[in-house]
């Protein structure tokens, strides 16, 4: 490694302060440019025709009338997307999801696209495209899809992870097993065993900004893409692969992003927009409607989970098992595998086994959603943990503390943990004032824990110092949660200058080397690391310039508090040179002063959180009100505490929506019934209390500042915390998310019966 990434426990003057966000004014004044805000001379409007059927053969597409409509400049079907994937099944799945190839696999699957001079003409053209379908049997429920009688989604899918390898097609794309010890022996040692089944419904990330892009692609294969995305470098690579372009000839620029949460890590319409542009030889702007976002971009899995946990009377868990069935939409995924890996990660278990089944159904291709797959597994496991504590007559927090994973624990997914924070989060919960608040009638309290992996990845950063001493930091990780403020703080810390002297820009794909997508809570962790090293490289140049100015060896120059200082008695007559002074002279001392770094930021460190929730349930209507909600999470080092708290709060709120309201509802015809925010209700401010937070700072040993990712873990515990709270309020165990009023009323009625 060219740079030392170990935690150094240094002191800070800038990091940890709550400075104003650099993008705030632009966003509140409307000056910020999002995906739909870019325009180009001569641009066309792109529109996509989508299947109204859950599963159907496309026997014929007649585009002739649409093509003749005045103002229509291009019409596309799958024939315009030749297979350039070289046998890469994953790429082919992406291509087929962008445009159906002979078969519509879900309600909303793209079957054709047009580019026209305006929206009216494009809409008329869509209506002139005649698609002849032959309906096929469909399945949208994960448990139904696993039955032998279920219609097969893909005849080429054989269940992976099974020995011997199956020869027959199946909707189960993959079986994944994790664990260690002897669970049967462990259950024999148990005094109490609880076994329960749970279901969670499909939810969408619900980002406010729909997918949007402006694509320009010429006949020479050179193009540009302005797009709302979490990873413009990844979008460039995928689009180039699908369309047969040279990577370097496609410049992708990320717009401001109105939320992503994992849903903007995948391409959906961008290859279609580029291909429309290539065919029309004009720029094409393609903006999804909300209906399209719901029907055709990646929601998370709906799931069905069985959990069994046994414990001794002294509260020690002796064995735990889980079977997790996750649907991945119409294309294979690994979502159940992640559920299986995370399900028991919070606990120190001698005997544990979790098995995940990834299942194909006629729904849109599932995408990552903030700590993908972990919330559903946590809902099931943390519910049974609560039930077990109650059966043993133990406090639910004490029971968790007694079984919590710690340094040296063999994780349920395999490795041995280093220093981790689950124990401290539970200790903080136990001592938190929230836990001492008294509850009233129809009120209940719930606690739950959550785990997520976090990761780093490829990162490339440039830092340039202007002649006035201001600093431009260019990074390649899209700012989805405030990373520009955090990275500016880091640069200011390293250079010893004011925060306001640093401006952070998200560079386009032609400006920097490859940067992995902003996912896995990696933005501040990895670009922060690259910023530290880039700034230290710039400091080396500053020291060299000062040494040259003073005509002394560079070894006698140190960088302290934003200025070069000459060390040694022989240099006592040399006054310090500030960054501004050195920068002002830079044109005559060697030219621009810059620092650069490219790094593979590994060692992100795993993350844990514990949540507390108080609810009140109206027994007549089944409506749940969140009274209090508190998040405790290990952040490693909070670079900008406001943003860390914002991530904690945002994850909790998305989890509250998932727990109480949000749900994809499919009809018997396999069509989505609620593709809009009126019928798919996400929480609004008036639904919520203030989400309280407590940041724990247990340094990550693999980052110079001790940073851990913080963006995802906070969505893991809410389903379970609220499930436990509602169950305690109504006296009936809730097993189905969302816990909507009808489900709560039915559970109460069933409990009374």
């Amino acid at each position: 490694m060219p740079y030392e990434t170990d935690f150094t426990n240094q002191g800070f003057t800038k990091v940890g302060t709550r400075v104003n966000r650099p993008d705030g004014v632009d966003k509140v004044t409307g000056r910020a440019k999002y995906g739909a805000d870019a325009n180009a001379a001569g641009q066309l409007v792109g529109r996509v025709l989508r299947s109204p059927h859950a599963h159907a053969l496309i026997t014929k597409i007649d585009t002739s009338k649409a093509e003749k409509l005045p103002g229509v400049k291009a019409v596309l079907t799958s024939k315009d997307f030749p297979d350039l994937t070289g046998g890469n099944r994953g790429l082919m799945d992406i291509l087929e999801n962008c445009m159906a190839r002979g078969r519509a696999l879900y309600d909303g699957h793209a079957v054709a696209a047009v580019a026209a001079i305006d929206a009216d003409t494009a809409d008329k053209a869509l209506k002139l495209i005649k698609v002849t379908y032959k309906l096929l049997p469909h399945v949208t429920d994960v448990d139904e899809a696993m039955k032998p009688s279920a219609p097969i989604i893909h005849d080429w899918v054989r269940t992976a992870g099974v020995t011997p390898a199956p020869t027959a097609a199946s909707n189960v794309a993959q079986r994944s097993e994790f664990g260690h010890g002897d669970v049967e022996a462990g259950f024999e040692q148990a005094d109490v065993i609880i076994e329960k089944s749970f279901k969670t419904e499909q939810t969408h990330q619900g980002y406010i900004e729909p997918h949007a892009c402006l694509a320009t692609l010429g006949p020479d294969g050179s193009g540009e893409l302005w797009v709302t995305t979490q990873g413009h470098f990844t979008f460039r690579n995928v689009c180039a692969s699908l369309l047969g372009l040279d990577v370097a000839k496609l410049k992708v620029t990320s717009s401001e992003i109105g939320g992503g949460f994992g849903g903007k890590t995948h391409v959906w319409t961008e290859p279609v927009a580029l291909q429309l542009s290539r065919k029309a030889n004009r720029p094409v702007k393609l903006v999804m409607s909300r209906d399209e976002v719901f029907r055709a971009t990646g929601p998370t899995s709906s799931t069905s989970v069985d959990v069994k946990i046994g414990a001794k009377r002294n509260g020690k868990i002796t064995a735990a098992t889980a079977e997790l069935r996750y649907q991945s939409g119409a294309f294979p995924g690994m979502w159940a595998m992640f559920g299986a890996m995370t399900s028991f990660a919070c606990y120190d278990l001698k005997n544990v086994k979790s098995v995940g089944f990834d299942v194909l159904v006629n729904r849109p291709k599932v995408a990552a959603y903030r700590a993908p797959s972990a919330p559903m597994a946590a809902f099931a496991v943390e519910s049974v943990v609560d039930m077990l504590a109650a059966e043993l007559g133990m406090d639910a927090v004490d029971f968790r503390i007694k079984n919590a994973a710690k340094k040296g624990t063999k994780a349920s997914y395999g490795p041995v943990y280093g220093p981790i924070g689950i124990g401290p989060t539970l200790d903080a919960v136990k001592n938190h004032p929230h836990m001492k608040r008294k509850l009233g009638k129809n009120q209940g309290r719930g606690v739950a824990c959550g785990f997520w992996f976090n990761f780093g990845g490829q990162t490339c950063t440039d830092l340039n110092i202007g002649v006035d001493g201001s600093v431009n930091l260019t990074v390649g990780t899209v700012d989805v949660g405030g990373s520009r403020a955090s990275l500016a703080l880091i640069a200011a810390e390293e250079l010893g200058i004011d925060y306001d002297q640093v401006r952070v820009t998200i560079g386009d794909t032609n400006s920097l080397g490859h940067n992995d997508t902003t996912e896995g809570s990696r933005g501040t962790f990895s670009s922060g690391m690259a910023t530290i090293f880039a700034a230290r490289n710039a400091v080396e140049v500053l020291r060299q310039r000062a040494a040259a100015t003073w005509d002394i060896p560079v070894e006698q120059v140190v960088w302290e508090a934003g200025e070069a200082r000459a060390k040694g008695k022989q240099n006592n007559n040399l006054p310090p040179l500030s960054l501004k002074e050195i920068a002002a002279k830079s044109p005559r001392t060697g030219g621009p002063i810059a620092g650069h770094n490219e790094v593979v930021a590994d060692g992100a460190g795993v993350s844990f959180a514990s949540h507390m929730c108080d609810v009140e349930v109206d027994p007549e209507t089944g409506a749940t009100k969140i009274l209090r909600y508190t998040v405790v999470q290990d952040a490693g080092k909070a670079i900008h505490p406001d943003y860390v708290e914002g991530q904690f709060q945002g994850g909790a709120v998305q989890g509250i929506g998932w727990a109480l309201n949000e749900e994809y509802i499919y009809g018997d015809d396999g069509r989505l019934q609620n593709a809009g925010f009126l019928d798919y209700r996400i929480p609004v401010c008036s639904d919520l209390p203030f989400i309280d937070t407590q940041i724990l700072e247990i340094p990550n040993p693999n980052h110079p500042y001790g940073v851990r990712g913080v963006g995802e873990t906070s969505i893991v515990p809410p389903l379970a915390a609220i499930g436990n709270a509602v169950s305690n309020a109504v006296g009936v165990r809730m097993t189905h998310v969302p816990m909507s009023p009808p489900r709560i009323l039915k559970a109460i009625e069933d409990g009374q019966a």
Binding site: M1, G90, R175, F261, F455, G457
Partner: protein
């Protein structure tokens, strides 16, 4: 050194959950693994992660592996 496997990665090693490999770095370890189990190559192409004494590495092939380290091969994680 002993490398622990699970899930679909274990299937690629003929069902073994513990395999003997050599290598001073993660890159050398993965090369050794593929030489012994060619089926593993497709998983390496799709991406894997290696946990060394509890720290998960996804991309750093030059990461040294200490003697007697606890080594676990994992599927590559995706995030949101």
């Amino acid at each position: 050194m002993e490398v622990q496997l699970s899930g679909i990665l274990s299937q690629a090693a003929d069902g073994a959950r513990l395999v003997e490999c050599t290598g001073a770095t993660i890159g050398e370890l993965l090369q050794s693994l593929v030489l012994r189990y060619p089926e593993m190559q497709k998983h390496l192409d799709e991406g894997v992660a290696v946990a060394v004494n509890g720290e998960i590495y996804r991309d750093r092939q030059d990461q040294p592996i200490p003697t007697n380290a606890d080594v676990f091969l994992l599927p590559r994680i995706q995030g949101g």
